[in-house]
């Protein structure tokens, strides 16, 4: 986003080299609230995932199938939203999927989800 920030902030009377903390923090804390693309992406995906799985829309059902495929891919017993296990299973699962990227963002930002999905069970 820098090309437009480089131009727009000086035009708006604000230094373009202002700290990123001040630039991206919300207006409630008296900052500028210029959107950070990476954070906005993760936030949008998380809210989309929760909304569609909760409402059980067509997209939500597709996401549930994708979650189940992800569970099979990682071979994890329990919920894939458990951030404490992300570091271990991220070593062997596919990394190009939307869901992996979402789990990675949640792990990085310490966001915990509680979306129910089918789990693997231990063989008796």
């Amino acid at each position: 986003m820098a090309p437009e920030i480089c131009v727009a902030l000086p035009k708006a009377g604000i230094s373009s080299s202002i700290s990123s903390i001040v630039r991206h923090a919300p207006t409630q804390s008296l900052e500028l609230a210029v959107p950070n693309l990476y954070t906005a992406m993760g936030r949008a995906r998380t809210s989309l995932l929760i909304e569609h799985c909760w409402q059980q829309t067509l997209t939500g059902k597709l996401l549930q199938i994708s979650i189940e495929n992800h569970v099979l891919d990682v071979g994890l017993f329990g919920y894939i939203w458990d951030n404490t296990r992300f570091a271990s299973y991220s070593q062997w699962c596919s990394r190009h999927s939307w869901l992996y990227s979402e789990c990675s963002f949640n792990n990085e930002k310490e966001i915990s989800l509680a979306i129910h999905h089918v789990q693997l069970v231990h063989p008796k």
Partner: protein, 134 residues
């Protein structure tokens, strides 16, 4: 109309998209007006545009990143040569270009350190970026 041919292959324990080898024959589909249309065949790395999103089965984001970066650079060039007031520049930043860049984000899998930085600064500009911008 396009047809994406790909299969998932296991490489070093990880599933990745690979080109499917279905053979060289023509595939047709019936369009809404009952006419038969020949399908354009794309490989797993070929990105195609749909609803202003560039997508490919292999999860590449190159064209999407380029299109976002181009939009940002063009918008900045127009604002630079225009004579906007401070309020207009601020409003334009928060309404036009920000919304345009944020529109495809929920469908993307950008990483902050690599693709995200290329949108922000471009591959050649990383060294010139001040530290405070991170």
């Amino acid at each position: 109309m396009t047809l994406k041919e790909f299969s998932m292959q296991n490489e070093n324990g990880k599933w990745i998209a690979a080109d499917a080898e279905l053979g060289d024959f023509d595939l047709v589909a019936r369009a809404a007006d009952s006419e038969f249309v020949s399908l354009t065949r794309l490989n797993c790395d070929d990105e195609s545009e749909m609803l202003r999103l560039w997508m490919s089965p292999s999860g590449q984001n190159k064209k999407m990143i380029n299109s976002l970066r181009l939009a940002a650079v063009n918008w900045a060039a127009k604002l630079r040569i225009g004579r906007s007031s401070q309020a207009e520049a601020w409003t334009a930043l928060n309404t036009t270009i920000s919304r345009k860049l944020m529109y495809p984000l929920s469908a993307l899998t950008l990483t902050e350190d690599r693709e995200g930085m290329h949108i922000h600064y471009g591959p050649g500009n990383l060294r010139r970026t001040p530290k405070s911008w991170y």
